[in-house]
């Protein structure tokens, strides 16, 4: 609405004034990065009526929102459709993993000569200004996504902490936060005492580089013994909760993500690998979707129960989807290839409305019929819900005089699922 229209409208509606306040911005984001490209047909855009060479006779099941059906591979998520909205018409033109990932992470076409920051680094940058926790503002569980999905020209400081380790192991060992396995508390105290005694350079503290070294050491020691390490101690959760998320790497990573949200970390990525199902697609999907379905459903339920869902955005997407037609010929033997023309994503929480479907794909989930969603529309919506204006310029120190994201597409950001403004009625 432009300013002029707004003035006229507000003049016309001189009703008993209920002031409207925008819903508060989200505090944290959990990104489930489905690296490799998940099939839209076996997840959120099933086509039970398509020929078998497309759906391999997989069915759709109803959800707890009437009119919305998802793949039978996701029975748990079907019980929570009121909590999320499905985007069935994500679309772009890059069918290579790295170019597509760069686009889905930064909203930018590759090849501009600059490495733009990924959305995680952007949120970490802006939200990080108020964030005072011991952990970095951008944490990736558990493996790095590669430089095309990181801090770009924002620089070093916004590089994510990549945990490494296995959250499903008896002790989730996080490189740089928790001490390596096999050491007792006594060993650890002893080695720090020894470091004090043996490091001769401590007495040259007036040399500038060494005084920084000393300060960095003190800060590191404080962080190591502060709250940071406890966040990764999953033994503090009950068995019931741990089992609900699923006793596998992905499930426990989702549980860790919830703990990170509780610790105030603004941006968390779960790098869910292994979705590049060129061969034996259906075997892969059965295993992967079972873990994903259980963990994601548990995460949404858990966040809702803890009253965290309204302030936490959860989004799920790969860099692209997969070819609708199944390749039965050798060497694929039942595989699906990379496919960016039309694929699905999921968004929940942080004020976004649940129980909605955005966009319509054709009868085989192969082309967009209506309401295409460009990568910058999805990313822009997330930024906007975090209280960050996607059209504002990059911070001055970067020297990049461009908006955070390219201009939204004609159909635009996902305003149809933005929260209604909160009415604070009656005060005049």
């Amino acid at each position: 609405m432009n300013m002029f229209a707004y003035i006229i409208l507000s003049a016309l509606c001189s009703l008993p004034q209920t002031t409207e306040k925008a819903a508060p911005p989200a505090k944290s984001v959990i990104e489930i990065w489905v690296w490799g490209g998940p099939s839209q047909l076996e997840t959120f855009d099933p086509k039970p009526n398509a020929p078998a060479e497309y759906n391999n006779k997989y069915k759709a099941i109803p959800t707890n929102v009437s009119g919305i059906e998802i793949s039978e591979m996701l029975p748990n998520l079907a019980k929570h459709a009121d909590k999320y909205s499905i985007i069935r018409t994500m679309t772009h033109r890059h069918n290579g993993h790295e170019t597509a990932s760069y686009l889905m992470q930064t909203g930018r076409e590759p090849g501009s000569g600059r490495v733009f920051p990924a959305i995680g680094a952007l949120v970490a940058f802006y939200k990080g200004m108020d964030y005072k926790g011991d952990l970095p503002p951008y944490v990736i569980l558990t493996k790095p996504k590669g430089r095309f999905a990181e801090e770009g020209f924002l620089g070093e400081k916004f590089k994510p902490l990549v945990t490494g380790g296995n959250p499903n192991a008896a002790r989730f060992s996080v490189d740089g936060i928790t001490p390596p396995g096999g050491l007792s508390q006594a060993d650890i105290s002893m080695q720090f005492e020894a470091l004090d005694k043996f490091d001769n350079f401590r007495k040259y503290n007036q040399i500038p580089a060494l005084s920084l070294f000393d300060a960095a050491g003190k800060e590191a020691f404080r962080k190591m013994n502060g709250t940071a390490a406890k966040v990764f101690d999953l033994s503090q959760e009950s068995d019931e909760i741990r089992n609900r998320y699923g006793r596998n790497e992905f499930g426990q990573a989702c549980l860790t993500a919830r703990r990170l949200v509780e610790a105030g970390v603004p941006y968390i990525t779960i790098n869910a690998q292994g979705w590049d199902s060129h061969k034996k697609h259906f075997e892969t999907m059965k295993k992967k979707t079972a873990e994903m379905d259980q963990a994601l459903a548990a995460l949404l339920e858990d966040l809702a129960q803890k009253n965290l869902l309204d302030s936490t955005i959860v989004w799920w997407s790969g860099e692209f989807g997969r070819t609708p037609k199944i390749q039965w010929e050798a060497p694929w033997n039942g595989g699906r290839n990379h496919y960016a023309k039309c694929f699905s994503a999921l968004i929940a929480g942080g004020g976004f409305k649940g129980g909605k479907v955005i966009g319509v794909s054709d009868s085989v989930a192969g082309t967009v019929v209506s309401r295409p969603v460009a990568p910058q529309d999805l990313l822009g919506s997330i930024l906007e819900r975090c209280g960050i204006d996607p059209d504002s310029e990059f911070p001055a120190f970067t020297g990049v005089k461009e908006p955070l994201l390219p201009k939204e597409s004609k159909e635009g950001r996902l305003r149809e699922i933005y929260p209604e403004n909160i009415k604070c009625g009656g005060e005049k």
């Binding site: 430089r147 490189d175 005694k197 043996f198 007036q206 040399i207 500038p208 580089a209």
Partner: protein, 472 residues
């Protein structure tokens, strides 16, 4: 007959100097003034009323030379052979020896690669085999000690396929394929300044020269041909630039930065070296030899007075954290556990096992190199390399499981058969033996916590100490 040791003890008693008051990092005398360059330094110090650091001790010097010229700490054998050498010219001889190794050429290739943005894909879409060839081409030139003016000409005058002529990637490894980017790359390499910092006339000259640059693809995937249309005036530009003082000065400042960590240095120092560089036919190795045998280089890293100012005047060797690649390679050498680096950009993924300093492509990396500020090679600017030490880095060194696995290999395998394990560890990490005081500390603490337990954690202790993590 009295042994040497007894004589020493007698001397100590007679002169009243307490035992081990001597600093193990410094000699007891000021740095010796030997060459013409040293005399210039000494005069500067006198003028500015600076008291220079004492000369660095042997164990410091051998470590320093291997780190600066070979990109890793010396092995115990290399360290002991230098420390035990009675030859008074051993410092300059080791410099000469190291400058002639392939390892040195490889390490310098890494330094040039940072500046020339040698990396595949993001953000400049160079294909990995072009990055590999470019690296290899520079390595060959440095190995043969190609004069610097000729080296620059190879870049500036290059054309043809970027898969066949490595130098042609000089124009390919830029953000955008156009005259402005080519001119900018040339200005940065030749004069150390981006195009927009040149004078109006000079900028115009550069832009005009590269106006005719063109690129075309071939039937080979991602191969590109660099060629020039119209009147090619690159040779004229090059002839003019080589005559300029800034051409030599830029090479000198770059080299000074590689050795001392910063090019914030008194102009008389760099002017002297630039003159010498020019009159010695742009001999890169001679320049390094002059720097690394100078009084500035032989100075210790500990001094009284204003440290920053002393560093600027070449009166102290400035302490700084080891570079990411040097640190990684040194740890791999000390532990006998080489690391595998990888690139997921583009498919098919690349894997590379070996020296971090030898990685032919900036996209091939690992978590360690990322944390310790290896340059991203996006812009090629010197400040892409981060040499400060952060809390995150110290946390990683304290706690990394990967590092812990490497460290465990030392006692379990590498020095399993050594009798004196404490000495073996000190030689591996510090390139020196432990002092009597350090042995005493070890025994005293060992009594309290059991010495085998303490010994087990000593690799961690030495790794995390300033003496290991800093170039000094």
């Amino acid at each position: 007959m009295l042994s040497v040791k007894q004589i020493f003890i007698c001397a100590v008693i007679l002169t009243g100097i307490p035992l081990f008051s001597q600093n193990i990092y410094l000699k007891s005398k000021k740095t010796e003034i030997i060459s013409q360059f040293d005399k210039l330094l000494a005069e500067l110090w006198l003028d500015e009323n600076i008291s220079p650091a004492n000369e660095a001790s042997d164990c410091v010097m051998v470590r320093r030379l291997y780190i600066d010229l070979a990109g890793r700490v010396p092995t115990p054998a290399e360290a002991l052979s230098y420390i035990g050498d009675k030859n008074k010219d051993k410092q300059s001889e080791l410099v000469k020896k190291l400058l002639n190794t392939e390892e040195h050429a490889m390490f310098m290739t890494m330094r040039y690669g940072d500046e020339l943005r040698i990396k595949s894909e993001f953000p400049i879409n160079l294909w990995p085999n072009a990055a590999f060839l470019y690296t290899r081409t520079i390595f060959e030139a440095l190995k043969n000690n190609m004069p610097y003016d000729k080296f620059a000409a190879c870049m500036i005058l290059s054309d043809g396929s970027n898969f066949r002529n490595g130098y042609a990637n000089f124009f390919r490894a830029v953000p955008q394929k156009n005259a402005e980017n080519a001119a900018d790359a040339a200005a940065k390499f030749l004069l150390g300044k981006p195009l927009n910092e040149l004078s109006y006339w000079q900028r115009k000259k550069f832009l005009n020269t590269f106006e005719g640059i063109r690129f075309k693809s071939t039937r080979e995937w991602k191969e590109e041909i660099v060629y020039f249309t119209g009147n090619d005036t690159r040779q004229t530009l090059l002839n003019d630039i080589v005559k300029e003082k800034d051409f030599s000065l830029n090479a000198v400042k770059r080299t000074w930065r590689w050795i001392f960590g910063s090019d914030n240095v008194h102009p008389e120092i760099t002017d002297f070296l630039a003159d010498r560089f020019r009159s010695n036919k742009y001999d890169i190795r001679d320049l390094l030899y002059t720097i690394c045998t100078s009084a500035a280089y032989r100075s210790g890293s500990i001094c009284d007075g204003d440290y920053q100012k002393n560093a600027q005047m070449g009166a102290v060797y400035p302490m700084r954290r080891l570079d990411a690649e040097v640190l990684a390679d040194s740890i791999a050498q000390i532990t006998n556990m080489p690391v595998t680096y990888s690139s997921v950009i583009p498919e098919p993924f690349s894997y590379y096992k070996g020296r971090a300093a030898a990685l032919p492509d900036g996209s091939i990396t690992d978590k360690f190199l990322l944390i310790f500020g290896r340059p991203s090679r996006d812009s090629g600017a010197a400040d892409e390399r981060k040499s400060i030490i952060t809390a995150e880095q110290r946390l990683y060194l304290f706690n990394s499981s990967a590092l812990n696995n490497q460290l465990n290999n030392i006692l379990r395998k590498k020095i399993k058969k050594e009798k004196d394990k404490l000495t073996a560890l000190y030689l591996l990490f510090y390139s020196r033996k432990p002092t009597a005081a350090e042995r005493k500390t070890f025994h005293e603490m060992g009594k309290k916590v059991k010495s085998w337990k303490l010994l087990n954690r000593m690799p961690w202790v030495l790794l995390n100490s300033g003496e290991f993590l800093f170039q000094h």
